[in-house]
């Protein structure tokens, strides 16, 4: 491991402690200042619908995204959030257009730069929205524009799919075709796609390994 990567792990961990502190500061201070601690029964009623599913998704996402984003990219992306609808695609796009491999330090610096820029842009855009909320709300919440912003994820992944298809099409084409067929056959998977991801990943790696051993890729 290079000195750079070692340093990233060190400061990445430290920033996680800060992030945790600030995230929890909000509900803690709110509860104290407004004397508004939730009762256990209320808290459990609310949490039971959210927490188990989100923890399952969180665990799967953590292990699926870490290898793709690299150390620097992961520490930053998980703290800044909006992974699948922004940070993961922006990193994939940067890696693809810079022509680097992710499991290298080159891949990691490129993914870190793209994620850092993306986070800063998001923070600025959100602040602009808050400041200009009164004039912006009617524009962006209009019925007409609503479908455009409801479709950010398919709009991102259509193009990314084509960009990545040309990397070993012998693997990418069957993986994409079979996965899409599976989702269309079982639309209920839509709600649990983060759980589907590791299964597809394991299958794709196994198939890749098989072709590699046979000398066909």
């Amino acid at each position: 491991m290079s000195e750079y990567t070692r340093g990233i792990h060190r400061s990445g961990r430290l920033w996680f402690v800060f992030a945790y502190f600030f995230i929890y500061l909000f509900p803690v201070v709110t509860s104290i200042v407004f004397d508004a601690w939730p009762s256990w029964s209320q808290f459990f009623a609310a949490a039971i619908g959210v927490v188990p599913l989100y923890w399952a998704v969180g665990i799967v996402e953590a292990f699926s995204y870490m290898p793709m984003l690299g150390p620097g990219g992961s520490y930053l992306a998980f703290v800044t959030g909006n992974m699948s609808n922004m940070k993961v695609p922006v990193a994939l796009n940067a890696i693809e257009s810079a022509g680097v491999q992710q499991n290298t330090e080159e891949g990691d610096v490129i993914s870190t730069i793209s994620i850092a820029v993306s986070s800063l842009v998001t923070l600025v855009v959100i602040i602009i929205f808050i400041v200009l909320m009164v004039p912006l709300t009617p524009v962006f919440s209009s019925e007409t524009l609503q479908p455009a912003f409801a479709n950010v994820v398919p709009a991102l992944f259509g193009g990314l799919m084509v960009a990545f298809l040309s990397r070993t099409p012998k693997v990418s084409v069957p993986v994409i075709v079979i996965t899409v067929a599976l989702f269309i056959a079982v639309p209920a998977l839509k709600g649990v796609y983060p759980i589907v991801l590791p299964v597809v990943a394991a299958a794709a790696i196994a198939y890749s390994r098989f072709l590699y051993k046979k000398g066909r890729i």
């Binding site: 340093g7 792990h9 400061s11 992030a19 995230i23 909000f26 509900p27 709110t30 509860s31 407004f34 508004a36 939730p38 808290f43 619908g49 959210v50 927490v51 989100y54 292990f63 290898p67 793709m68 620097g72 520490y75 703290v79 909006n82 922004m86 922006v90 796009n93 257009s97 990691d108 610096v109 730069i113 850092a116 800063l120 842009v121 998001t122 855009v125 602009i128 929205f129 962006f140 919440s141 007409t144 479908p147 912003f149 479709n151 398919p154 709009a155 259509g158 193009g159 084509v162 990545f164 990397r167 993986v175 994409i176 079979i178 996965t179 796609y193 597809v200 794709a204 890749s208 590699y212």
Partner: protein, 241 residues
């Protein structure tokens, strides 16, 4: 201490603001570190600048979608909590559902006025729900990413195939997710058409780049595909509704 509660109380703005500043600072520090290291690894300043600009352009449309998420939630939850949740760790699809689920479990809804206790219960639920991934990263990031780079060091070619397989799986899952409701028509069909338009535009960008030598397209192809195909959702919706 029992003060008059408001979902937009100045104190809540300060709490959210401090966290947002911390995250911005982390982004700047990581950006500087990675930039410096990239120069050492032989990337040119010019290439990195292009990468930063294209990543910024890329992020604008998804960031607007996040901004809309903040505005949507602000009606009931006020501005500070959605601002914090969507700037630090959160994601639009999670936070909207988490807030809605927590509110309905409390026997209220996001369309009514919340009491301080209801608000704090929702804030606790959203916070605890979203922070699992966070615990795992500092614990396992070093092991996981080292493991992956060891595969690459042992056999470079297989290392490349291994990460590519992960990328394909990720893209396949999101594409599949986008197409899951295609047979139901309506919004599902619109999403599928948006995906298709984005894919076709990417093919077109590839052709233009190769045939006409438009190298600059390389950096902006995805943002172009994204914005045009998002815009296409508007006539598709009008047509299919």
């Amino acid at each position: 201490m029992n003060r008059t509660f408001s979902v937009n109380h100045p104190l809540l703005f300060i709490l959210a603001g401090v966290a947002v500043v911390a995250v911005a600072l982390q982004s700047v520090i990581f950006l500087r570190k990675a930039w410096k290291r990239a120069l050492e690894l032989g990337f040119s300043q010019e290439k990195l600048k292009k990468l930063a600009v294209s990543s910024a352009v890329f992020s604008i449309a998804p960031a607007i979608a996040v901004g809309i998420g903040v505005i949507t939630l602000s009606g009931t939850l006020g501005l500070p909590l959605p601002w914090l949740r969507l700037s630090v760790v959160g994601a639009i699809m999670y936070e909207l559902t988490a807030a809605e689920t927590a509110a309905s479990a409390l026997g209220t809804s996001l369309s009514s006025t919340l009491s301080a206790t209801e608000f704090s219960t929702i804030a606790w639920t959203m916070t605890i729900g979203i922070t699992t991934g966070l615990i795992l990263i500092p614990l396992f990031c070093e092991k996981t990413t080292n493991g992956i780079s060891k595969i690459g060091m042992k056999d470079r070619k297989w290392g490349e195939h291994f990460t590519n397989a992960l990328f394909f799986a990720l893209i396949a899952t999101f594409v599949g997710n986008g197409l899951a409701d295609v047979t139901k028509g309506g919004a599902g069909l619109v999403s599928a058409l948006v995906l298709l338009v984005s894919a076709l535009l990417m093919v077109l960008c590839g052709l233009l780049r190769n045939k006409l030598g438009w190298k600059w397209l390389n950096d902006y192809a995805i943002p172009i595909c994204m914005v045009i195909s998002m815009a296409a959702a508007i006539p598709f919706t009008a047509w299919l509704a």
